[in-house]
């Protein structure tokens, strides 16, 4: 940037870029604060457990006596010592799962990618459709399309994701009456296929369609409601009148002037929603036996594997914090008014 050519430009531009940098720094710092709180919370949450935690390990068959002795020693250590151990390894990289008897991180690491695929696919689809519906409904407020789409979105908004998943399994993968099922009802990939190949990608896509639909339908509703509300906010603005006065066609006014201004809240929401989508993924992955982190959470809960649960909870909360920061930074980049 040729900032130093004119002092007037420099005076106005310098605080702006500095403002953004300061904003990002401040945001990272407050995110760090949140993370410290979550670490403390996660530690004490699992100290509330009643009973003897080491007893849970007795049922595990393939655990060595040395590991068992180590776990017992760790659990008998004073609280401060336990807290120190926890801080050194908050994700329980070396923790032993009470369910499988193997390091927790081996379980979590292997299950991450299906969840990323599922959340990505459902987010992309629900954002695309939801935003389109919201723009159309908000722009033609009070029209038939607006009324019908608002009704349908409110209906989807009230639907439990997993129930939608159960219906999809019943209709499209078990098959109804004479119609055969066309989608698989479990797993993320057919066995014996390399995930990083064309066949693998197709198989993953085939397994992801139904769970992503179940998950996406619910969030589609939210995006379209927010997009509609912000479109309605823009409707009476004077810059739209100006754009029309210039002689722009209606669709150009909408696409080039109204939509960019109205899309900020939706963009924030996409990132803020990650926490809720993870919640939905727990049940949807359970329904579809989709081997991601959500199903792993369900398994950890039903097997009472608290070490695994603690690690998963931290992974989920950590990603929510990260996405919150990303959302704030994107908004600050797009909209300079926010940087204060």
């Amino acid at each position: 940037m040729a900032v130093d050519t004119a002092t007037a430009v420099a005076a106005s531009a310098a605080p702006r870029t500095g403002g953004l940098r300061r904003f990002v720094g401040y945001r990272l710092l407050s995110g760090l604060g949140t993370l410290v709180f979550v670490l403390l919370f996660n530690f004490f949450l699992f100290r509330m457990l009643p009973g003897d935690p080491a007893a849970r390990y007795r049922a595990v068959k393939n655990i060595s006596a040395a590991d068992l002795a180590r776990i017992r020693a760790e659990l008998n250590a004073p609280l401060l010592q336990q807290f120190w151990d926890y801080l050194r390894d908050p994700l329980a990289l070396n923790g032993i799962s009470a369910w499988k008897g193997q390091p927790v991180w081996d379980l979590v690491g292997g299950r991450a990618w299906p969840t990323v695929v599922l959340l990505g696919a459902s987010t992309v689809v629900s954002v695309l459709i939801g935003v389109w519906v919201g723009i159309k409904a908000g722009w033609n407020r009070g029209s038939r399309f607006d009324k019908v789409s608002t009704g349908v979105t409110l209906l989807f908004y009230a639907t439990p994701e997993f129930w939608l998943g159960l219906l999809l399994i019943m209709c499209l993968s078990s098959g109804i009456g004479p119609f055969p099922g066309i989608f698989p009802s479990g797993g993320v990939i057919d066995s014996g296929i390399e995930p990083l190949s064309v066949d693998g990608a197709l198989s993953v896509a085939e397994h992801t369609v139904l769970p992503a639909t179940a998950l996406g339908a619910v969030y589609l509703a939210e995006y379209s409601l927010i997009m509609r509300a912000s479109m309605v906010d823009e409707l009476g603005q004077e810059y739209l009148t100006t754009a029309r006065a210039k002689g722009l066609m209606d669709h150009a006014v909408r696409r080039r002037h109204a939509v960019p201004n109205a899309s900020l809240p939706t963009i924030t929401l996409i990132f803020l929603n990650i926490g809720f989508i993870i919640g939905g993924a727990i049940t949807v992955e359970t329904v579809f036996s989709y081997p991601g982190l959500g199903l792993l959470t369900f398994e950890a809960v039903s097997e009472q594997d608290f070490v695994l649960m603690q690690a998963l909870f931290l992974v989920f909360t950590g990603s929510v914090i990260a996405f919150n920061i990303v959302a704030d930074i994107i908004i600050a980049v797009l909209d300079p008014r926010i940087r204060t």
């Binding site: 129930w163 009802s185 993870i278 727990i282 049940t283 929510v320």
Partner: protein, 308 residues
């Protein structure tokens, strides 16, 4: 202000004035609410479900839910004239279980929302009223809890607490869903605190407690009620999720437990739609009802949302 609404000048005790003013305000509110067709629709759905839940013992005697009494019925039978919605895996009438389950879902939803409302209002008003360290600490706490993903938190908390009674579920959902309310109440408190009558209360030496309870609370309460209605919807959805994951009281019939049992009995793969569809539709209708009522209340109470 509204002295003209006072009926007769002879009964001008302060209490009578207040009562008349409240009555007039309530009447205005009811008329404004009646303009929202969606809100009335939500109220009608809710009334239907509340009636069914209240009349459950009359409509379907408790014995119909006892699995020792129903072993002779065909399990997972399709709807018939005897069982309008078929039977479940224990031969119980799905319709009877459905109506009894309405009780659990409504009770959990309302009780947990009340806990959340009280906590959220308390934290919100205090963090808005006290400007020092205490207030900002409460605000920080709210922000931190807002970040924690709700369903994973609820699932983990229910798993950690272990004893899966109705009370535990109410408690878990109540103590986890307050941060949203607290944030809303804090913003509202800040705007109320800037008004002249609070300045007057401060100048006249009103205590913090008096300022908060007599001046701030009545002004934030309407929006809190609207927000609580929407919280009920979220709580009922969450209870369904918890029950579906087997984290609710296994001996208590709720719509989520029904869906859990239906999945366990393979209703999705065998096409037993009569077992799968009704609980889900009930959840949707009740959640929709609370959402519609909450939105209508918000629209009536928040002038900025009118004209939409």
């Amino acid at each position: 202000m509204s002295a003209e609404t006072v009926p007769s000048p002879t009964a001008l005790t302060p209490r009578a004035v207040t009562r008349a003013r409240r009555k007039a305000a309530l009447g205005r509110f009811a008329r404004a609410y009646a303009l929202h067709r969606a809100g009335l629709f939500g109220l009608a759905i809710l009334a239907t479900f509340a009636l069914a839940a209240l009349l459950a013992p009359v409509l379907f005697p408790r014995a119909m839910l006892d699995i020792t009494q129903t072993v002779n019925n065909e399990a997972l039978a399709a709807p018939s004239s005897e069982f309008w919605l078929g039977t479940d895996e224990n031969g119980r009438s799905v319709l009877a279980v459905l109506v009894w389950a309405a009780r659990a879902s409504l009770v959990v939803g309302i009780a947990a929302s009340l806990i959340s409302m009280i906590l959220g209002t308390l934290v919100g008003i205090c963090s808005g009223h006290y400007s020092g360290l205490f207030g900002s600490a409460l605000q920080r706490l709210t922000d931190w809890f807002l970040v924690i993903p709700f369903i994973p938190l609820v699932v983990v908390l229910a798993a950690v607490l272990g004893q899966r009674g109705l009370g535990t579920i109410v408690l878990v959902l109540g103590v986890t869903s307050w941060p949203g309310t607290a944030r809303l109440v804090r913003a509202q408190t800040l705007s109320v605190e800037g008004r002249p009558y609070l300045e007057r209360a401060k100048v006249l030496g009103g205590s913090d407690w008096q300022q908060m309870s007599r001046h701030v609370l009545p002004n934030v309460m309407p929006l809190v009620l609207a927000n609580t209605t929407i919280t009920v919807a979220i709580v009922i959805l969450s209870e369904t999720t918890l029950a579906f994951l087997g984290l609710s009281d296994p001996f208590l019939d709720s719509w989520g437990t029904m869906l859990d049992n239906a999945t366990g009995a393979g209703a999705a793969s065998t096409g037993a739609w009569w077992y799968l569809l009704p609980p889900g539709i009930c959840v949707i209708l009740v959640v929709l009802a609370f959402t519609l009522i909450g939105r209508a209340l918000e629209a009536v109470l928040d002038p900025r949302l009118r004209e939409r």
